[in-house]
Symmetry: C2
Subunit: 401 residues, 2 copies
Amino acid sequence: MEKHYKELKLRVRELENELIKCKQKQSAMEDAHPLYRQKIDKMSAEVVDSNPYSRLMALKRMGIVDDYEKIRTYTVAVVGVGGVGSVTAEMLTRCGIGKLLLFDYDKVELANMNRLFFQPHQAGLSKVEAAEHTLRNINPDVSFETHNYNITTMENFTHFMDRISHGGLEEGKPVDLVLSCVDNFEARMAINQACNELGQIWMESGVSENAVSGHIQLIIPGETACFACAPPLVVAANIDEKTLKREGVCAASLPTTMGVVAGILVQNVLKYLLKFGTVSYYLGYNAMQDFFPTMAMKPNPQCNDRHCRRQQEEYKKKEAERPTVEVVQEEEDVVHEDNEWGIELVSEVTDAELQAASGPVPDLPEGITVAFTIPSEVTDGDTVEETEQSLEELMAQMKKL
Amino acid sequence: MEKHYKELKLRVRELENELIKCKQKQSAMEDAHPLYRQKIDKMSAEVVDSNPYSRLMALKRMGIVDDYEKIRTYTVAVVGVGGVGSVTAEMLTRCGIGKLLLFDYDKVELANMNRLFFQPHQAGLSKVEAAEHTLRNINPDVSFETHNYNITTMENFTHFMDRISHGGLEEGKPVDLVLSCVDNFEARMAINQACNELGQIWMESGVSENAVSGHIQLIIPGETACFACAPPLVVAANIDEKTLKREGVCAASLPTTMGVVAGILVQNVLKYLLKFGTVSYYLGYNAMQDFFPTMAMKPNPQCNDRHCRRQQEEYKKKEAERPTVEVVQEEEDVVHEDNEWGIELVSEVTDAELQAASGPVPDLPEGITVAFTIPSEVTDGDTVEETEQSLEELMAQMKKL
């Protein structure tokens, strides 16, 4: 009996000691500063657990990408760091992009927690500040430049233009790509105007206010339709459009749809920058039916944006100077004749306008409609050219093309 | 002069004070413990910045989901917390799922940093532990249960079966859905066996080793093809398959492809649980060409898994007992006759086998091929039934269907 009692007491002491050790270790882990990784000079393909680039460099061995390291030489500007923009920036950071420029004027709110990336403890911080902090910890090899302002005011727009044309990795050089991840018409028009003026290639993305459809679009000034050439297109979600776009209505959003749109956007960026696969000119996502239409759009020769018209002229000139064979190839690559755009209105219009609009619709791929009509007064007028045409005039113009 | 000097000195003092206050505030913000949000008893649709559910509850107002709050009553098991599983778990957490069960035996490594979710400071922690910590901070309303083990060993498999059938939100009830986000054949076969035995509905997901294609698949035991009914299908990436699946080759991966697959997987989960849109039986993603094939597959009456055959019998009985009209509807919903599965081999087979295999191929949607052939010795034999048929026998069986 006495012997068993002693043994038991020993066992208790043993267990107590183990528990103390365990708690100490736990506490040390909680207290420890996060072990952020060190910068890495050169991307390595070495297959070891400690190499954050091994699975990306494997794309070369797999025959997908010829020169993956080239990603470190590129600069991408992400405008709008919300549900799509934040995930876009994170994907590019994890892929080891050279430099990211982030533009947003919003603050993180708990109401953003239904989308990926931001966390509750960041509520109240500016989105660009919170994003930069997280992204720098994820990959210290990426350069970041953040701008906590609204690009649509006169002064900021000028600064935005300057950073797009001089904010490249090699200071003074333009960025390689601008990504629009904004959630409103004015900001998209501002990006469109800047990129038309600068001849800057960009990609636009969007998610519908009912959260179940989205799209991405590649815009090459002068070569493909710009944002002002035609009302922006979205994938119709087969639901009552009357519930959408009403003043004061809080838009719905889902981490799934935003994640898919960010994924197909950055995939298109990688394919464009690293030259693999087929770069999509337009890719839509309808979550209700799981369909993903693609298409391409020619620019509108009567586009309201004079810089778009100028870019079109310059593109034509360049094309004319090319050897004939190449021109034909290029035409085939860029424009699919059976994918000509058309128009169909979905909201914020009278029945009469709808009637007028649904008449001339050519062969827009099944399920694609325009997101909204171009407002007759576009903005406060500071940065974006006003559309002086009525919807009917616009429709008539499009018919002529 | 004297007056101006005094004013200036006052101004300097004022500014110095402001600067000190500003720095103090900054420092306090940096030092402060992260302000994690409190639990929320009832989902609210109120449109205020502090409501993490406002944008999800808006899905009701938008006419997309009838009863969004119902998401809090569901339990989902995520098997594999890697590139797809971690993002899947995060999306479900942000959507406010009732309970998540996470299964993984792996540790976080820096080599995982090219995919979303995990961060460098988590390197060395078990994936389930690191994931639970992050997810709990993101949404404390979700219940978590984590299992840091390999489900394919005998003992763990028994425990896994038990948790699937009794780990629901209401203890003792089964989970509502199992999601396979694993990266190997053995684990998929183990999940398949468990779900066939339990009659548990599950969804499978996968990403190719060259990182540029993936798929999701809904499996309803007895009603659709199980994982053992036919070799798993993947979207062909139009690249040389000989570079894939070689022993010792490090697989490539991309945050984009993984993010898209997690997005379409969780979108399918939301549509299934909350009853909106069309649930996909199979959705593929080919990143090189941006195409997304869909299809459905009937179960194989000669499936090697006896529980699958039993479930097929039970399903047939249930169908026979239903009123005729409903049966017809169901059939139409579930099986698309023009999407019957077929077989095409891509790797690890001899030319003769390839020849034999490419003969009987019916009309598998363009671009879909099988991921790999079923190994003749499936596993160590502990948990998964062995396939005793040769490839040729399997092909012959399929022809008969």
